[in-house]
Symmetry: C2
Subunit: 310 residues, 2 copies
């Protein structure tokens, strides 16, 4: 469905602001609590948090993260799932979200309704109340930016920092061809997997793979080390080349550093019992830069998704 | 300063994503804590909140909330101050913020640096750590959306709900001509005033005036009542007509319902001691709809700022 319409009567401008906000609250339904705990006051009031909190923000932008070929319900779900993936990468679970929408007055009401209904269905599934938002007009734009709050699902928050030379690198699921396969909007964020991995003390560092494995892995690689990946080991989506598995963005998988002296086989056995339908694959190690074996992939040779291009 | 440049070398595209993010962290400086408590991981980790939290989100959009005539430092400050005003309206104080930026690759680096430096200076002034963010490209766009977290400054959060028939209406500061006077970016958010008003039990309901008094007042007006405003009482910015004081947006003042039986004179005396340089003005009452006195302003006759126009 195309998000823009040339028919005034079918566009958001036909409703005007007040009726549009009323419609949004109807579309969100039970996913949006009543004010002051939801939309309708200057701020939303949130219950006290029990421990440390997590916060992240990610948008979906027309022409960049979706186009007319992606169903609007899937765009709404993708917006939340992208942020859930960031939360999963630290071992978190969600508590609340707010949404800032900037749209052209020609955005189609039908498209927008489906977008919000898709977001609401996803929010109910993952129990994320949509507590606030803003709608503003911007010419030729359709951007939705979601801020997600969460908390640690277990006793520990796992960051990108902490990997050491010698650590093994493991990755969940399959890599590559996310855009052409539709994975970029059909994926399931790895919340349960991230919470499980965060409970394993041998997992030293973790992040999600969203800009391509090779680019993202730089942030996990300890100083004075290089990632040496085995090209044959990379878990590739059907039809994906090694280069695509390294460079394509939007995998929304988790990549972890596992302590060098950990019993990797035991970790993998426990994983298979917990997640029999999802792979956890050892793909390489962090090694001294002069000890990269011949034939290993050098991730610095690959470019991941570049966000600013002219 | 114009935010767009036709010279590639002076645009954000010249830096590319990684160096741009490094530059943003440099521009934010001490306003942005280190990961995992700030920018640089999948999520930012926030310390535990002591009580109920407040959350709000508001953007600044090129062509809507600012243009080339507004200094970029003032745009950055305005983005934070708009959100602080929402927090002030509930008696809150800020704890953390995240920023989602969508920009065209032709945005000028000089403009962007000043924007972030203005944001950072304002964040330091109000002690709001900028803990996270996202930068994404969107053609012809320059939008920054800030999500602000806060907490009650005192024992009470004041909402828009709670006014009763007979209650008096008071407003802080001056109204009207915000755009033409530059008030829309020079204003000081009423944080101290909001916290003070929230501690007064006779203040039953409060909100900020951002879309024009007449429009915003609808949200404060109790069911089965009408706001009857005295046109002579309206505190107008120099040169502002009564209509402008009612309809112009971006006042960023606070409007409150004060209990009918409260000692208004005592409230005003206490206010003058606390805030000798800022007015608090009684402007009318909530009355039964058939008791609106002749000569009173009927706010429903005025239209405030309309966010969606074709």
């Amino acid at each position: 469905m195309h998000p823009f319409t040339s028919q005034s009567a079918a566009s958001v401008a036909a409703l005007g602001e007040e009726r549009l906000i009323a419609a949004i609250r109807r579309w969100l339904g039970p996913a949006s609590p009543r004010a002051p705990f939801g939309i309708g006051d200057d701020c939303a009031v949130l219950p006290a948090a029990r421990g440390r909190q997590l916060i992240t923000v990610d948008p979906v932008i027309y022409g960049r993260h979706f186009d007319a070929s992606v169903p609007p319900r899937a765009v709404g779900a993708k917006l939340l799932k992208r942020n859930l993936s960031d939360l999963a990468a630290m071992g978190g679970r969600p508590t609340a979200a707010v949404l800032a929408l900037t749209l052209d007055a020609r955005v189609s009401l039908r498209w927008l309704e489906q977008f919000y209904r898709g977001l609401a269905a996803c929010a109910r599934r993952y129990r994320v109340p949509i507590v606030g938002g803003d709608v503003a007009q911007a010419t030729r734009s359709l951007t939705a930016s979601l801020t997600l709050l969460g908390e640690a699902a277990g006793p520990r928050v796992v960051t990108r920092t902490g990997a050491q030379r010698g650590d093994q690198v493991v990755v969940t699921g399959l890599l590559g061809r996310s855009l052409s396969s539709g994975h970029h909007f059909r994926f399931t964020p790895r919340l349960a997997e991230g919470a499980w991995l965060a409970r394993r003390s041998e997992v030293r560092a973790m992040m999600d793979v969203s800009d391509g494995l090779a680019k993202d892995l730089k942030a996990l690689t300890p100083r004075g080390a290089a990632a040496a990946l085995d090209p044959a080991a990379l878990p590739r989506r059907p039809g994906a080349s090694v280069a695509q598995a390294c460079s394509d963005g939007e995998d929304y998988e988790l990549v972890c550093a596992v302590a060098a002296d950990a019993d990797l086989a035991a970790l993998l056995r426990a994983w298979r019992r917990a997640f029999p339908r999802t792979r956890l694959t050892p793909i390489g190690r962090f090694v001294p830069p002069d000890r990269v074996p011949a034939g290993a992939i050098d991730p610095t040779r690959f470019h991941g998704y570049e966000h600013l291009q002219r």
